[in-house]
Symmetry: C7
């Protein structure tokens, strides 16, 4: 198994994405690429336990990502 | 779907762009490239809830971008 | 021996991964690639001695990693 | 349109360039390249609302740039 | 002599590795590559004069390294 | 004109170089390359308005440079 | 002259190397490469005017270097 296979298995499932700087996102993984750029739908932003819904799809830039977990 | 397809679908629509360092921009997406460099027109800059209009077009450098959302 | 051979030897064993910014993860190493992207299963996140279990698999982005140790 | 086309259209016009770290520059765009390295003439540096004129031409390194706007 | 020759000469000897962010490691250099990824065995972590032994081998990511010294 | 042409025109003239982190250098530009690595002779370092002369030539690493101005 | 020629001329002479984060090193330049990785012998580390001798040779990673001066 290669690390990106985890993203393939997580497609269309809810994931938690932790970003550099303390922000995190929860949403359904709709797409990814080899730079770890991600697209989440039905996303929520979590900063210091405060949750903000983000309608539509959100594109997260790969190089700001620390980890992705289900 | 690939992550950059989201940008293709967002062309000529309003987007919210969060930058590293806490600044964000709202505007109409006029152009993008594979580095996530973006061009917004009718852009507004938002820093700590303070909104500053930026006339004309604004070019945002891709490597300062955290996420792009509609 | 090359540095990545250590990861090969650690496959399916528990490792400790220290990230930039003071966060660390413990879990079983399920996969890695040449960018040091890692997949941990049964992972726990450790921040300031506080341990949070992370169910399922966690993908850690290589460029946020400081060190990996058994 | 591609993002760098905005720079082509801004050649010989006044632009505002916001840099990482809170500094910004206003001046006439004399040259650019694909790394977003820029040359401004008749430039002014703006830090915390304090304006310092910079005579001659100023070369701004692309990877310190956050955005460029007219 | 090229800089990486120093690593070749230090193989199987004790080294001190200073990392970005103020952490350092002492241990026996078991392996290295051209990215300065290093493997130390019998390593100790030193943070603010506090020493923590790290059993087994430790893989240090090259781009977090500031210097390596005997 | 390309941005690096400005460096060609500034050869053997005094320049001001602002670095990331608030340090700046004044000196005569003796050499440059495409990474913006610079060599200054008769250089002075300026930190918080304190000026320190640096005898001989000084090599400034390009990726720490914010701007170069005459 | 190209910037790296300065390193060639400084071989086997004492140099001062300023690193990102406020640390600096003085020592005899024994080797360098095109990434500005440097090897110093008889090196001293200087942090806040405190000098610590570093016996043997020290390998400094190029991307942490701000400037090199005689």
């Amino acid at each position: 198994m290669r690390p990106l296979d985890v993203l393939q298995q997580s497609l269309h499932k809810r994931v938690l994405v932790e970003m550099k700087g303390g922000r995190s996102y929860r949403g359904v993984l709709d797409a990814y690429d080899q730079h770890l750029n991600l697209v989440l739908s039905a996303a929520e932003e979590v900063v210091n336990d405060q949750v903000t819904p983000r309608g539509g799809v959100t594109l997260l830039r790969g190089d700001s990502i620390v980890y992705i977990s289900p």
